[in-house]
Amino acid sequence: MPHRTFFWFIIPSLTAMILFIAFPVISVITQSLHVEHEKVLVSSESCGPFGCKQVTVIDVEATAQLRTDQPLGQFSGFDNYTNRNHLAFDEISLAWSNSENMSMFFNKLLNLPFYKALAFTLTYTFVVTPFVIVLGLAIALGVNALPKFAKGPTIFVSLLPMIVTPLIGSLILFWMIDGEGVIGASIQSLFNDPNLSLKASPALTWMMLIVYGIWHSAPFSFIVFYAGLQTVPTDTLEAATIDGANRWQRIRYVVVPYMKPLVVFITLMQLMDNFRVLEPIVSFASEASATSLSWIIYKDLTSDTQLFGSAAATSMLTIVGVAILLLPVLFRTWRDFSRTAH
């Protein structure tokens, strides 16, 4: 295909991506270097019968004017990145020097909004992803062994947790674990503790969010593994059996190697998707005990005074985080590509 034709075919799609994905990133970078204007203050001397005093008032009109003239705010360099709500260098060094031991330091660290969100986001990503892979493979092996007529309906039901809107799926779960919902009430009676609430304790909230994450994503890895299982050649399996391999050895040495590229694929997708976790936190209203990077951006953007600079700085840090996560996979793809090219 000549370059010209290629260009005309790809240009609509490429324009959309450049305008609405690449430019916003530039816009995020710019915004992250600015903060909102401070209110314009006017001092005047008001004199009464008992003498004069200095009065400082907010000039509402001038403030509004300044904000319309320069919506971006004022340039602040890297302040947004280093302030208390983000990387919080000052607070960390203070906490480091004031803490007697590591646990005290970590306590202080996790009280800072950015690190609190980062801790949950990373825990969520790195707990959910392996669980999803193992559970998905187990379900796929189980479904593969079912009689033919049962496979279709099983796959239908299995798809539901993944296909349903994340906000809705997590809401449904949230209502069930409510102290008065079915699971919440059952757990209370199981432990005989009417005050036990899955929402009140941070550890339990983290656990429920992770359980939701596994429930939501397991179908994806199940489907991918199930499709992969159909491509495992029966000849090889038979040969292994004749050579005396038992069932476990057949799975370990024949099936699993066939699944290896699929594991890479699922890991890549899961890392991307779990790192952006947002909806469950909104549904669970869990901000007191668990927040995520996406959630703090969302909160900055939807609060009454929108903090564009702060949201942009968190966004940049999130993008850097995604890049670090994906770098090994991207590097691997690039190496494979250049190997085939030569």
Binding site: I10, P71, P161, I163, F220, V224, L326
Partner: protein
């Protein structure tokens, strides 16, 4: 079974079937529970006394005199205008699917047929774009959109969703077009067609299975989106998902959680119907690119 590789012991078969049955229950019961509960009153769905009340509708019987009640649906659809957001969702989803498929087929076809090195880089770029959390992009949109006075309208969200959708659409259609033999359009070009005519007359008639599969996923992305629609649409133009999110704050105060439950069930139904009819396409779509490497 005669095939020794397929033979398994009975105990193993029981364990494996039992595990699948357990998974099916875990996967399906939350939906069934919520569907059933949406026809009850709050006192049953969130029962202080006994969770089986939700099954038998004890409070529902006392409060409404009937076993089932549609009060939740009435509240959501009539009192809170859930219908409007359903229409908005329909507009956003249908437009997003049509536009992203149009752009995606052209781009995906070009990427599949060109052997240039930069087409690989475009695909890699698309993968990087795919990895961006949507909310980070939203924080880049808001300020410019406010400045240009385009914030809050449906077309703005549609264009943004189309763009966010492109990386995935390109990847999927690219791998689909790779499976259509090159000879097909090249022989048309030997017969004197231009590249576009070959695309129009030879490729378009055979591309529908792939386009439908990709369209399903564009549909799901637009339908399930929360980050973009919740922050880019004004109150009047809200689609279903942000509407449900905004229900939460208000209805919990008024004690009408059942409105939200009814709205959630209403939003769930179209997805279930979709899976029912397109299960095969969804499964094949999830595995494109994975199984083939």
């Amino acid at each position: 079974m005669s095939n020794p590789a397929q033979r398994r012991s009975t105990s193993l078969a029981i364990i494996s079937t039992g595990f699948v049955v357990l998974w099916i229950m875990v996967a399906a019961s939350p939906f069934l529970w919520t569907l059933w509960g949406s026809f009850k009153v709050q006192g049953d769905f969130f029962s202080k006394a006994d969770w089986t009340n939700a099954l038998y509708g004890v409070r529902t019987m006392i409060e409404t005199g009937d076993f089932f009640t549609t009060n939740g649906y009435y509240g959501a659809w009539v009192e809170h205008g859930f219908g409007e957001s359903v229409i908005n969702t329909a507009i956003v989803v249908v437009s997003t699917v049509i536009i992203s498929l149009t752009l995606g087929t052209l781009g995906g076809y070009a990427l599949a047929r060109s052997g240039f090195k930069y087409s690989f880089w475009i695909l890699m770029l698309a993968l990087v774009f795919r990895a961006m959390p949507h909310i980070t992009l939203v924080s880049g949109y808001l300020l410019p959109f406010f400045e240009w006075n385009v914030w809050g309208y449906l077309p703005t969200s549609i264009i943004v969703l189309v763009a966010i959708n492109q990386p995935f659409t390109l990847w999927m259609l690219h791998s689909f077009f790779l499976n259509i033999p090159k000879d097909l359009d090249e022989s048309a070009m030997v017969d004197g067609c231009t590249r576009f005519q070959a695309f129009r007359h030879v490729i378009i008639p055979v591309m529908w299975p792939g386009v439908i599969t990709t369209g399903l996923f564009s549909f799901l992305l637009a339908y399930n989106d929360f980050a973009v629609t919740a922050s880019l649409l004004s109150q009047d133009n809200q689609t279903m998902i942000p509407k449900i999110a905004s229900f939460l704050g208000t209805t919990q105060v008024e004690g009408n959680v059942m409105f939200a439950v009814a709205a959630v069930v209403s939003a769930m139904i179209p997805l279930f119907i979709l899976v029912m009819f397109f299960q095969r396409q969804i499964v094949s779509g999830l595995t494109t690119g994975a199984v083939k490497g």
